[in-house]
């Protein structure tokens, strides 16, 4: 396996299927994280949204990786509500806009970075604000480093998943500066951010995608 491997449409569909499975599995954990510093609905909402994503992908099977991302992004924006719907939706929609066929690891990494930039812009959030960005930005950086170092797709995705998981854990001592948890001020310290936790699940799902 080397950096010239390409990611086909099935890989992208599998990514969302696995993400949906992981979010369903961890739904109650995500909701409990949200109950501590938010309003106790993150797991429920994301589970509902990804169920809709999988349904839409089955109803109108996509022909290209771009179509997978565009469909998933639009579904998340249009069907989830809350902040997580538009925020996740924007990541995938922007990623879809930036992606070029055939999808190499370098192309995936560049498009993913654009998705994270769109997220930071829409959510007005930066690294350290205790949000999804704290998992996705390190994952994006890990992908870029993997491309630079010429590692294989599988290893690159595993490194990105690890970086996201570490990023989510690193939100525990932070004080939230964005989103509903920011209302708690110092009381948000000591809890993992639910958005960062779900973002880590998306990256964990990516690491399982067969190339």
């Amino acid at each position: 396996m080397d950096t010239m491997d390409t990611l086909d449409t099935a890989c992208f569909v599998a990514w969302f299927e696995e993400a949906a499975r992981l979010v369903r599995r961890d739904r109650d954990r995500l909701t409990e994280l949200d109950a501590a510093i938010g309003d106790a609905d993150h797991g429920t909402n994301l589970d509902r949204g990804l169920t809709e994503v999988i349904k839409a992908l089955a109803e109108s099977p996509p022909d290209t990786p771009v179509q997978v991302l565009t469909s998933a992004g639009a579904t998340l924006i249009r069907r989830v509500g809350g902040a997580s719907g538009p925020l996740y939706g924007s990541v995938f929609r922007q990623m879809g806009k930036a992606l070029r066929a055939p999808v190499t690891l370098a192309g995936f990494s560049a498009a993913f970075e654009e998705g994270v930039v769109a997220l930071e812009r829409l959510g007005k959030a930066a690294l350290g604000d205790k949000t999804m960005v704290d998992a996705l930005a390190p994952a994006s950086r890990a992908l870029a480093l993997a491309v630079r170092d010429g590692v294989g797709v599988r290893e690159a995705f595993e490194q990105a998943a690890r970086a996201a998981a570490e990023g989510a854990q690193a939100t525990i001592p932070l004080q939230a500066r964005k989103g509903r948890a920011s209302y708690l001020g110092e009381r948000s310290i000591g809890h993992e951010d639910p958005g960062a936790a779900s973002a880590a699940l998306f990256m964990a799902a990516l690491a399982t995608v067969a190339v």
Binding site: A40, T44, V80, G81, R177, S182, Y183
Partner: protein, 326 residues
Amino acid sequence: MKKLINTADSVVEDALNGMAAAHPSLRIRDQVVYRAEGPRPGKVGLVSGGGSGHEPLHAGFVGYGMLDAACPGEIFTSPVPDQIIDATKAVDGGAGVLHIVKNYTGDVLNFEMAAELVEDVEVASVLVDDDVAVQDSLYTAGRRGTGATLFVEKIAGALAEEGAPLGEVARVAGEVDERSRSFGIALTSCTTPHAGKPTFDLPETDVELGIGIHGEPGRRRAPMVSARELAGIAMEAIHGDMPLHGDLLVMVNGMGGTPLMELYVVFAEVAAFVKGKGARVSRSLVGNYVTSLDMQGFSVTICLLDDALTRLWDAPVETPGLRWGR
């Protein structure tokens, strides 16, 4: 926790069906609540929305003198852009549409996306951010929109009913928000149907100070004390941020699970505080208006009135949740 529901997944839809059955003045289509008579040509349309669980806000305020449409989301979850786009198009009577948006990340994002996507309708937007428990700084998402939302919807609704243009309705809506402050205190948490247990544990001996309207914990936990002392904490927080003077519109709002009798106990203390500062309770509202499911507790919202705002507050209103003068 026992709940009067069929299933957790259907509770929002089931409640909307009940609203439609109870109030022939409303029409419900694709999870948007409209006035049955539709838009009036030349009148600015008012659209609000937000998570469900705050009833009667927002759907209960659809009707003459207030909203033209409300977009209820899932419980404590902002509505999606499609609902807001549908509502905006449907209520436009040719004079444009005002979006009344509570300052939460999700509400702001979804209303912004809808405003960008809707075509051929002039849209203005007002952000409600009245909760003094949250410092408005770079380190928060800004102050939350809570009780003042009702004031904005009522006063802007009255002005729109008189035929004022969109720019003026939006300006006065913003003015109401600027002149309003709120503070909330919870005696218990609330239980969302999906979670089935309280969002946070709060012992008999404690209260949460500075809560929002989503069952989230407040700014800090403090020992349970008398209604007089709790009302004093809320009023000091409001007065410290916006010194009270002149004629006031005062709402003591129940969070959903508090007996009206206790809200009147609180109101007496609030009124005494106001008098002590040399201000006057000119208009008042006591009851459950901006709620957080079954949470016990209250919030106080105060608006500094002037003659124009008082007149608009007094103007006739006919909605399921607020009704007078018509």
